[in-house]
């Protein structure tokens, strides 16, 4: 396959030959050959922990390869630091948003290349104007003087993207750029990628979302367990074949799974286990009411910044409410106390795994049992046996890929970290599970497992609230969808209304979706 390509293909811009990288005990990359040609858009695929991020970090000077060589325009190159790669025209959006939360949006975009006036001093006015203008080209309208951390995660990711592509680059590498974007932002992103490609800029794109891969990439490199298992044109592969390659299973086996792994969903019956009334907090959400019954999955729909995360945080006690009440099984839960919420059986998987989820220096085991620890201890003394029992179950059930439960969680791949987070909350045996982007950054295999798990948990009687920026996931996974807009409930979709058309129409504030319009058409309009 590779031969066919090379005959007519333009010269390679960035190459890796025989690259190997071993972390203490884990061989993250072994003899990886990788080629990126000018103007090419290449999908880098693989399961969680396959080595995608590691390869990117080796290519961009964050890590030094243990063996092998990097070539830039055919010349051997070695990047001691990320800045060297940047100077060589390689711009990267790393998997975790890597910006400075305390600094403003404008500062973040122009860090390291601030516009100056004639005295050599930074010209903030110009910087803000430029930032505003730059973001506007991507349809982002935020106050660029605000600190980055005040933006929702998806918006932060858009800022990171704007920064990366505004640097004059020959190669743009994106490690899961869409993981916290929803449809509209993804559209914007695609537009940007189209622009880049038309300028002959080569793109490396990592994502676990198949649609996206097939929509924008020409070629694909598949990694499995640190080795390259496939290299070629994407058009030569079907989805199923690609998944099979990634997972290392036969096509037949993979075929049995559907688009999403959700089974039949049904509305819950009986008394609501959780009742939220008039949840309000100044400037964030107002008057939100929800009833969640045991055994049902309720989706929360909304655009970026519509207040989905805030609603979950309000119910999980993370956020102090100005008004409103929350009752679980008829008992009032004190607002603003996570402990009280957990005690009542309401737990939340936070959206920002890096800042709010993992405790980076602790082991997988400790991270999983973190919340459940008091239950697994006697008189304050921890019991290793009890912990191991639980950790074992979840590591197997969620297929967490790690050297051992003792491995430090920050060493795991992004997807596996997410699974650890899910395990933490499942270990609590909650009554109500609030999931903010549960499949963010999770590979197809694991995603299916998580989706199946959500199904299964609902069947077992758990009440679940699901926030996802993938419409497909919300629609297929939920029995009904509550749509938020500007911090309050816009609409509720039930039964047959739970379709992508209706949801999308509701998102933009149209009460009745024309039934004859297809999702694609609506996407088009957006």
């Amino acid at each position: 396959m590779t031969d066919q390509l090379s005959t007519a293909a333009p010269a390679p811009v960035l190459e890796a030959r025989g690259v190997g990288k071993t972390f203490t005990g884990v061989a993250a990359l072994q003899g990886v050959d990788f080629t990126l040609r000018a103007g090419e858009s290449l999908a880098l695929m693989g399961e969680n922990g396959a080595g995608k991020s590691t390869l990117i970090k080796v290519l961009t000077g964050v890590y030094q390869p243990d063996e092998g060589q990097i070539f830039l325009h055919g010349e051997p190159a070695s990047f001691a630091k990320p800045v060297d790669a940047q100077h060589a025209g390689i711009s990267t959006i790393y998997q975790e948003v890597n910006l400075v939360p305390l600094m403003t949006v404008a500062q973040n975009i122009f860090l390291g290349r601030e516009p100056r006036n004639r005295f050599g001093l930074i010209d903030f006015r110009k910087m803000q104007e430029d930032a505003r203008a730059l973001l506007a080209t991507y349809d982002i309208h935020v106050d660029v003087r605000r600190p980055l951390r005040s933006l929702a995660l998806g918006m932060q990711q858009m800022v990171a993207l704007a920064r990366a592509v505004s640097i004059d680059a020959r190669v743009v590498i994106m490690d899961e750029p869409t993981s916290s974007l929803e449809a509209r932002e993804v559209e914007t992103l695609f537009r940007v990628i189209g622009m880049l490609r038309s300028q002959g800029i080569a793109i490396v794109y990592v994502s676990h979302r198949m649609d996206e891969i097939f929509a924008i990439c020409e070629t694909v490199t598949v990694l499995r367990d640190g080795k390259v298992v496939h290299n070629g044109r994407l058009t030569d592969l079907s989805r199923v074949e690609l998944v099979a390659l990634m997972l290392g299973r036969s096509v037949e086996k993979v075929k049995r799974g559907g688009v999403t792994a959700f089974g039949e969903v049904k509305e819950g019956e009986g008394e609501p286990v959780l009742t939220a009334r008039d949840l309000s907090r100044k400037h964030q959400i107002s008057g939100i009411g929800l009833d969640i019954r045991p055994g049902e999955v309720v989706g929360l729909g909304g655009l970026l910044g519509s207040g989905r995360s805030e609603t979950l945080k309000a119910m999980a006690g993370v956020m102090q409410l100005d008004e409103g009440s929350l009752t679980v099984d008829g008992k009032r839960v004190r607002s603003g106390s996570v402990a009280a919420a957990i005690k009542a059986g309401v737990v939340m998987l936070p959206e920002d795994r890096k800042a709010e989820g993992i405790v980076p220096n602790l082991s997988i085991r400790d991270n999983i049992v973190l919340a459940a620890l008091p239950r697994l201890s006697r008189a304050g003394f921890t019991s290793r046996a009890k912990q191991d029992a639980i950790v074992d179950v979840f590591m197997k059930r969620l297929r967490i890929k790690a050297a051992s439960p003792n491995q430090v969680v920050s060493e795991l791949s992004g997807g596996n970290q997410q699974k650890v987070m899910i395990a933490r909350w499942l270990a609590m045996n909650p009554k109500v599970l609030l999931l903010d982007e549960p499949t963010r950054g999770i590979d197809v295999g694991a995603k299916a497992e998580v989706q199946a798990l959500i199904n299964e948990l609902a069947d077992e009687g758990l009440a679940i609230v699901l926030v996802s920026s993938e419409l497909e996931e919300v629609v297929e996974g939920s029995a009904r969808v509550v749509v938020l807009r500007d911090g309050s409930v816009e609409r509720e979709l039930r039964g047959s209304e739970v379709t992508e058309q209706h949801l999308m129409a509701a998102l933009v504030g149209e009460n009745h979706a024309p039934a004859d319009e297809s999702p694609a058409e609506i996407k088009e309009r957006l």
């Binding site: 890096k354 800042a355 709010e356 405790v359 980076p360 220096n361 921890t382 920050s410």
Partner: protein, 322 residues
């Protein structure tokens, strides 16, 4: 900010370097012992080691508490003042017997810990300034409690804490060993210990996981103060006098140094109890070697600085990036 450690790592090192990183302190101790074996008369004697162990006890006990605080990404500058306060309280109540006096001394110290903890956990003051204010005020309070006087303590039961031995091992050393054991268990085997390092690792994540962050923080500052009070009591017994003006002066720096040399990063999220013990011992050995060779103060300070740098340089890479 501590959550980002993973993103940037120093390049991997060879096995020898990994060994040095992990065992840097112990190696430094061994080298120093070796040096003394050859160049210091009367060093390798039981009596000498007893002296070293007795002298290291206060710093060690304070460093244990400091390690806990540092594990939560905090710091406690007030430990010296707490020692002074507990020393000041002893003579007031020694008439009721050594034990009640000691208990009251620890309680008094804990009040400072409570003040620290409240300011830090509930109000959100940065630990270094919160404890700095109590470092200044605490010693003043201690002196006022003591009526600005130095008092001899002659209760034989109390003095035994400073002088008595079991099978040649001084009580104070035994007490320190017990405390090391307790802290090690606390850190490694209890819910509290795990919560402590989680807070240091990522306070936000700990909060979202429903941990009682504020309670744990307050408790830790109180514990640290309690340990410092015990150090103050031991020091008082050893001196057979309550000297609130000088006891524990600058001990916060020694304690922090011991903790850091022992491999606990100042960025929190880890507590190395054994390393802390080794760190304290290393400092003690450095001081002893310099005094025994009658090195003038100026050069002794320079030498200490160089040795500390070397010991930490050996194990750098572990705690570098915040």
């Amino acid at each position: 900010m501590s959550a980002v450690t993973s993103a940037v790592r120093l390049p991997q090192k060879g096995a020898a370097l990994v060994f040095l990183q992990r065992y840097g302190v112990y190696l430094a101790i061994a080298l120093l012992l070796l040096f003394n074996l050859f160049f210091t008369p009367n060093f390798m004697t039981i009596d000498n080691f007893r002296v070293q162990f007795i002298q290291v006890v206060p710093v060690l006990i304070v460093a244990l508490g400091m390690a806990l605080v540092i594990g939560t990404e905090g710091i406690d500058l007030s430990v010296g003042a707490v020692m002074a306060l507990s020393a000041a309280v002893i003579p007031l109540y020694i008439g009721y017997g050594p034990l009640p006096a000691a208990i009251l001394a620890v309680l008094a110290g804990c009040l400072i810990g409570l003040a620290n903890g409240t300011m830090i956990a509930l109000i959100g003051v940065q630990p270094i300034v919160a404890t700095l204010s109590l470092m200044v005020a605490g010693r003043g309070i201690a002196l006022l409690v003591a009526d600005e006087q130095l008092k001899s303590v002659i209760d034989p039961g109390f003095l035994a804490l400073g002088r008595g031995t079991i099978a040649g091992v001084p009580y104070s050393v035994l007490l320190a060993l017990v405390l090391v054991g307790l802290v090690a268990v606390l850190v490694n085997r209890t819910t509290f210990g795990k919560q402590l390092v989680s807070i240091g690792g990522s306070r936000r994540a700990a909060e979202l996981a429903g941990l009682p962050v504020k309670r744990v923080l307050i408790t830790i500052y109180i514990l640290t103060a309690a340990l410092a009070s015990i150090a103050g009591i031991i020091q008082t017994a050893r001196l057979s006098a309550s000297v609130p003006s000088t006891v524990g002066n600058l001990i916060e720096l020694s304690a922090i140094t011991a903790v850091v040399i022992g491999g606990t990063p100042l960025s929190g999220g880890q507590v190395k109890v054994l390393g802390t013990v080794a760190g304290a011992l290393l400092l003690q050995l450095i001081a002893a070697s310099l005094i025994k060779h009658n090195v003038p103060d100026a050069y002794s300070q320079i030498t200490q600085a160089v040795i500390i740098l070397l010991a930490v340089y050996l194990q750098r890479g572990k705690a570098v990036l915040k």
